[in-house]
Amino acid sequence: MIYGKIWCVVRPSTGIPLFLAAVAIGSFAVHVALLTNTTWVKKYLNGNIAVAAEAMPAAPAAAPEAPR
């Protein structure tokens, strides 16, 4: 397999955790970047609260007082 001989010169106990950490940190960073730079991830994670808040119109003004 291509590049397999890397483990002849890099100890697997060093290289494998390094590789896994790079994958984990990279994917986490992408998701954090999406969460902070877009609106729709936050909205989606908030679920129905955000939908309800958006759908609900402003509260109507109080009704005028009925004549006595």
Partner: protein
Amino acid sequence: MSDPDKVWPTGLTEGEAEEVHRNLIQGTQIFGMIAALAHLLAYIYSPWLK
């Protein structure tokens, strides 16, 4: 890199190094497939890109 029984500084032979690498590649492929499936589900069930 001609002697297959030579023990390299990491304590592995070429065959063992190849075996480590095969497993790492296989694990990466399985992780990738699971990630692709998760992204597909997220695309279907979330307002992603809509």
